[in-house]
């Protein structure tokens, strides 16, 4: 509550409201609705039943028709509020519908069947989360496979990226050697070459390596990131040289210096790169789309896309799967938000 009052009382000149303050807060409020709203709507919709999703206009919360078990009927029956001919209303369960007539029973007195015109009844609705949207895909579809593939690609690719990028950054920040400038130029050069313009030849390389439809085809091509080398190099340049010289005096090998001195000290930069790598890999789309053609090797993103392209899009599963896909990123965001925004502001990369 204090936040709200503080919010409401902050303005340009203390004690006075300028129209720009009002405009600014209105703009920000609109921003909150527009930025969070769609994702919130997606999450709420993902808990609706298949029937609930077909409703138009849609209800705000996941509502579904209340059902009741009546003796003498094996299936649970849907409940309706019925307006009787005399004007009174009763809550009845529907046994079946024949044309414009519905056969209904009173749950308390199941022996007697009541015939009701269908326009005289209104469904009884209750708030219910259709968790089966989440549990069923886990059992029935290749969804768990997609999930596992995505986790595997993200974790393995991030580890490889961290190791080879930090090794290169170590070489480029600690040593003076012939060809250093050439290597730096090559790193800058690769920054300019996105996968979009070398799609076909990378596909050839991956085919030559026999990796088509293997997850390694997704992991390997993007493992050496120029941005990662840059980020780590800039950080390693700030490390004290005395430390490294002292370690050399003590006969530590170059590998030991890298692994036991430089790497632990570069942890903050490594953490930033790890977060970026996880985001890149989890969200990657075009390259996996080109190189993965078998369902069992799909990542989540490709699986979702394939699923939405099917003729009868099953939105109730699709929405739930989309929520699962955005969940890790949303969690990363909640916990590391400050970290990420300052990281991006400092490095200018995404």
């Amino acid at each position: 509550m204090s936040l709200v009052t503080k919010l409401a009382t902050a303005r340009r000149t203390p004690g006075r409201w300028h129209w720009t303050d009002i405009a600014a807060y209105a703009y920000l409020a609109l921003g909150v609705v527009l930025m969070f709203g769609p994702v919130l709507w997606l999450a709420m919709s993902s808990f609706k039943t298949q029937a609930g999703l077909l409703e138009f206009p849609p209800s705000l919360l996941p509502m579904s028709q209340k059902e009741v078990v009546v003796t003498g009927h094996p299936q649970p029956l849907p409940l309706f509020t019925v307006t009787m001919p005399d004007g009174s209303t009763r809550v009845l369960a529907q046994v079946r519908r024949i044309g414009i007539q519905a056969q209904m029973v009173d749950p308390a007195n199941p022996a007697e069947t009541i015939r009701v015109a269908i326009d005289k009844r209104v469904p009884v609705r209750e708030f219910k989360l259709a968790t089966e949207n989440y549990t069923e895909p886990l059992e029935r579809f290749a969804f768990t496979r997609f999930l596992w593939n995505s986790v595997f690609v993200t974790v393995v690719a991030t580890i490889i990226t961290l190791i080879i990028n930090s090794m290169a950054a170590y070489a480029l920040s600690i040593y003076e050697f012939r060809g250093k400038n050439t290597v730096m130029l090559m790193v800058i050069g690769t920054l300019m070459i996105p996968i979009t313009i070398i799609l076909v030849p990378v596909y050839l390389v991956v085919t030559e390596l026999g990796l088509v439809n293997s997850l390694w085809a997704v992991i390997l091509p993007g493992a050496a990131t120029p941005t990662g080398v840059f980020l780590l190099r800039q950080y390693m340049l700030t490390l004290p040289r005395d430390l490294i010289e002292a370690a050399r005096m003590d006969k530590a090998s170059e590998w030991q210096i890298y692994w036991r001195i430089v790497m632990p000290l570069a942890m903050p930069a490594l953490a930033v790169l790890a977060i970026f790598s996880v985001m890149w890999r989890w969200n990657e789309f075009l390259w996996p789309l080109a190189v993965l053609t078998k369902t069992e090797s799909y990542t989540l993103q490709i699986g979702l896309n394939a699923f939405q392209g099917e003729l009868q899009t099953q939105w109730h599963y699709l929405l739930a799967m989309t929520v699962v896909t955005l969940l890790p990123v949303a969690l990363v965001f909640v916990f590391l938000q400050r970290f990420i925004t300052t990281g991006i502001a400092n490095t200018g990369m995404k």
Binding site: I198, D250, L286, L318
Partner: protein, 342 residues
Amino acid sequence: MTGPTPTAPRRDDGAGASDLIAAPLALLSRLIDWPMRAIQRVIGERRMAYVFLLPNLAFFGLFVFVPLIINVVFSVTGGAALFPSQRPYVGAGQYAYLFDCGSFLDPNSCREDHFWRGVSNTARFTLFQVTAMVLFSLVTAVVLNMRIRARGFFRAVYFFPVLLSPVVVALTWKWILQRDGLLNAGITSLGGERILFLVDPSWAMFWIVFVSIWAHMGFYTLILLAGLQAIPADLYEAAEMDATPRWRTFWRITLPLLWPNMIVVIVLALIKGVQTFDEVFVLTGGGPGTATLMVVHYIYETAFSNQVQNFGLAAAASVVLGVVLFALTLAQLAASSRKGAA
């Protein structure tokens, strides 16, 4: 085995990782250390730099530099074979085919009309998107830079969609924009008629621009916000003392000092815009018809998803795209060197 010096941190697990991770890592390090020491004994301390560079450069070479050369080879050869040795040389044939147009302004007059439709759609998309992106991220950055409460929270709000995957972004909006979606519910409740947003060509173009701004605005806002915060506060204090009107302060102080960041935003947005694919592909699939077909989509389709995979034509198209991107990147480098720091 010699440990590091006493001044070096003793823990090699860095930021307090548990022993469960640290123990295998230490073992791994020791296993690698043995051959690395042997190499170091042979080539000497200084040249170890090459050993450390090797893995990364091998990846760059294999997956960036070699493909860059093969790309050109692909673009001057024909046939349906994937391996360059089996492809007949056709010279500039692919490029000639790609550029065989009655008029460059009318995709219908071109032999490869899909490519030119892609070019024209991408150009229109980029023009709208970059203009709107710069405007909205500027307004948002200025508002976020005002003396407001909970600035961190609001900054996070605008930044949130940047982290979402393009597929998630596209599906979220597809769900809202579909025939029985939330937006049409709103329109009918106000007494309007349902609109088939993704079936109408103009609406489809509008929505892909809108959605891509929604998804990426936070990133550009951050760059501009950083620029705004770097403007010295005493300039504003001086302006306030002179009783300069606010719009004038904005026009004469804020905008000129923010200009380098604006250029970076414009060029970055251009580079990203020209390569637009993911969100559009999932949201509209390039449709209705070819109304939102982008150049990258054309390349992907020509190389991978058509019945006849035409690698040569796709490679030629990507070389053309590469040239455009190269020019834009040079513009970016020029802009950031003028700014002082990249």
